[in-house]
């Protein structure tokens, strides 16, 4: 029996997300007395693959097939399902990001395996197999029992600590073939965002709302994010107005993030916005309205004019980083 973890790489390198998934898989495997097999699809060097062993993977499988250069949901599902059968996987762990959301439900039907989506903690028990998951966009949490023999868990990003272990792993090329007729989608073009920290990856996020008053006022907010080594985000009205790109919209219908520090500037904190950020470790609010609901969600707050406060914060951060 094994716990199979599907890792993701970008241009042959693993990101934090993959180490987080393997750490989580290793903890789940401990609860069930299973071993951890990590699967990586794509061109990844052996040294890079071996790194997964440092977080608890015993067996690392690499599938490197040209047909799988771009994500095709059906073809990837076939590969993961076949490996899951060969590895006798009892639990399959995938990220709750866009790729995971594309693959987990297909695997669920293929393997008749119930899905616990967006889990942020270890299972509460393994018999019955009970997971703790977000519901109502963070306004409630549910205990959900997965009744099928095989279980699929999708892990919320930034929700599990990286756990290093002694590396006793083996790296193998998986003997697997893919029929070209399975690939029914074709990626015609890729537009990569470059040079910026990804919002969903960022440990620190500085976010602006309508209280910023004008798109022209974003300068100091971006500067503070840069000084902190963080990413920028915004609330829905701001992206709807076109002040900032849609990619920055955090909230119920936008991106759901869980950084260590979320600094909300001029954001009142509507339920829909909180739904996207409530899993952040620390929320800091700067708002001129002392009754803004964001202060109920925040651990630290400043009531005042953001345009006066931001420059002082930038100076203080720069002083600190000297």
């Amino acid at each position: 029996m094994s716990v199979l973890v599907y890792t993701e790489n970008w241009d042959g390198k693993f990101k934090k997300l993959s180490y987080e998934l393997v750490s989580y898989a290793s903890a789940v495997a401990n609860m069930m007395n299973n071993t951890v097999t990590a699967l990586s699809i794509g061109k990844v060097g052996d040294d890079e693959l071996k790194k997964l062993g440092g977080y608890g993977a015993q067996k690392i499988l690499n599938v490197d097939i040209d047909l799988l250069t771009a994500l095709d949901n059906q073809a990837y599902t076939s590969v993961i399902a076949e490996i899951a059968r060969k590895e006798n996987a009892q639990v399959i762990i995938i990220s709750n990001n866009n790729t995971g959301k594309a693959l987990a439900p297909r695997l669920s039907v293929r393997l008749k395996a119930g899905v616990g989506s967006g889990v942020s903690k270890l299972p509460l028990s393994t018999n019955p197999f009970t997971v703790y998951k977000r519901a109502y966009s963070g306004n409630a949490f549910a205990h959900m029992v997965i009744k099928s023999d095989i279980k699929i868990l999708t892990l919320a990003q930034n929700s599990f600590e990286l756990t290093e272990t002694p590396n006793n792993s083996t790296v193998e090329k998986a003997a697997i073939s893919v029929d070209a007729s399975l690939v029914k989608t074709k990626v015609k073009d890729v537009k990569k965002q470059t040079g910026k920290i990804l919002l969903t990856d960022a440990d620190i996020v500085v976010s602006g709302g309508r209280g910023m008053k004008s798109p022209d006022n974003w300068g100091p907010l971006v500067e503070l994010a840069d000084a902190l080594g963080g990413a920028t985000a915004c609330s829905r009205p701001v992206s709807d107005e076109g002040w900032r790109p849609h990619e920055e919209h955090t909230g119920q219908t936008g991106k759901i993030i869980a950084p260590n520090l979320y600094l909300a500037v001029g954001i009142s904190g509507a339920t829909q916005h909180l739904a996207g950020i409530s899993s952040s470790k620390y929320i800091v609010a700067i708002n001129s309205d002392k009754d803004a609901p964001i202060f109920e969600a925040a651990q630290y707050g400043i009531v005042g004019d953001a345009m006066k406060i931001l420059p002082q914060l930038i100076t203080a951060v720069k002083e600190l980083k000297k």
């Binding site: 959301k101 987990a104 015609k188 600190l320």
Partner: protein, 249 residues
């Protein structure tokens, strides 16, 4: 081209969620039910595509799994502009059950493009669209933020970590859509509301499917400790607290 838009109904997103006695479900008293926000955007885009004659979209049908009490949600979708509707007369115990029912509807009625919202705002599972695709062995594209037609062929934009991909696909297929797919949800006009009353709603009985998961209890998130206020005259103190107390910078 025939489009099917799958819709679920959820508590209005501004609802303060209360847990019902027994901690197994939420208290539905006084809850306003709405079309799941992603499904509403999905319906809006489907109707925009139908309005554009170059796409060849002939009809937009909505499908919903729910008891008779969810009929107002279906009528709302018809008022917004869907041509007809199918309701599978069942509660929705889990995503697997719902997806199996919707897959059966699609098997019977045949659609060229099936659209699903990427998640519903109640259990946030992001499962139904992908499950339908697999039940029917149809290609699927997830996290779709744009659907266009080029020379009659669908071209989808999907969001990936750190960018976007433009994906070509042939019908029939499933598009699992997210924010950006339509700018703002279309609102029902008075004429639409009148017309909706007479539009056909087909009611089907569910097929027999065993759910794979079960919600056993629901609880409120633990409340955060209160907010510590820092004097606006001395913002630098915030940085000091984040460094030494919270230890996050």
């Amino acid at each position: 081209m025939k489009i099917l838009v799958c819709i679920s109904n959820v508590p209005d997103t501004t609802t303060k969620i209360k847990i019902a006695e027994g901690n197994a479900s939420i208290d539905t008293a006084g809850i306003q039910w709405v079309i799941n926000p992603w499904d509403e955007l999905s319906l809006t885009r489907a109707l925009e595509l139908k309005d554009d004659q170059l796409t060849g979209v002939k009809s937009v049908t909505v499908a919903h799994v729910g008891p008779a009490s969810s009929e107002p949600t279906i009528r709302k979708a018809l008022a917004i502009g869907a041509d007809d509707a199918i309701r599978v007369n069942a509660d929705s115990p889990d995503a697997y059950f719902v997806a199996a029912q919707l897959a059966e509807v699609i098997r019977k009625e045949q659609f060229d493009m099936v659209m699903c919202g990427i998640e519903s705002s109640d259990f946030n599972g992001s499962n139904v669209g992908g499950m339908i695709s697999e039940f029917l062995s149809l290609p699927s594209v997830s996290a779709v933020s744009a659907i266009n037609f080029e020379g009659g062929n669908p071209v989808l934009t999907r969001d990936i970590d750190g960018g976007k991909e433009i994906v070509a696909i042939s019908a029939p297929f499933v598009a699992i859509v997210q924010k950006g797919i339509a700018k703002e949800p279309r609102i029902a006009a008075m004429r639409g509301i009148m017309l909706a009353r007479t539009k056909p709603v087909k009611v089907l009985e569910p097929i027999d499917i065993e759910p794979l998961t079960q919600i056993v209890s629901i609880e409120k998130p633990s409340s955060r400790p209160g907010c510590k206020f820092i004097d606006a005259a001395n913002p630098a103190q915030l940085i000091e607290l984040l460094k030494n107390e919270a230890k996050v910078i």
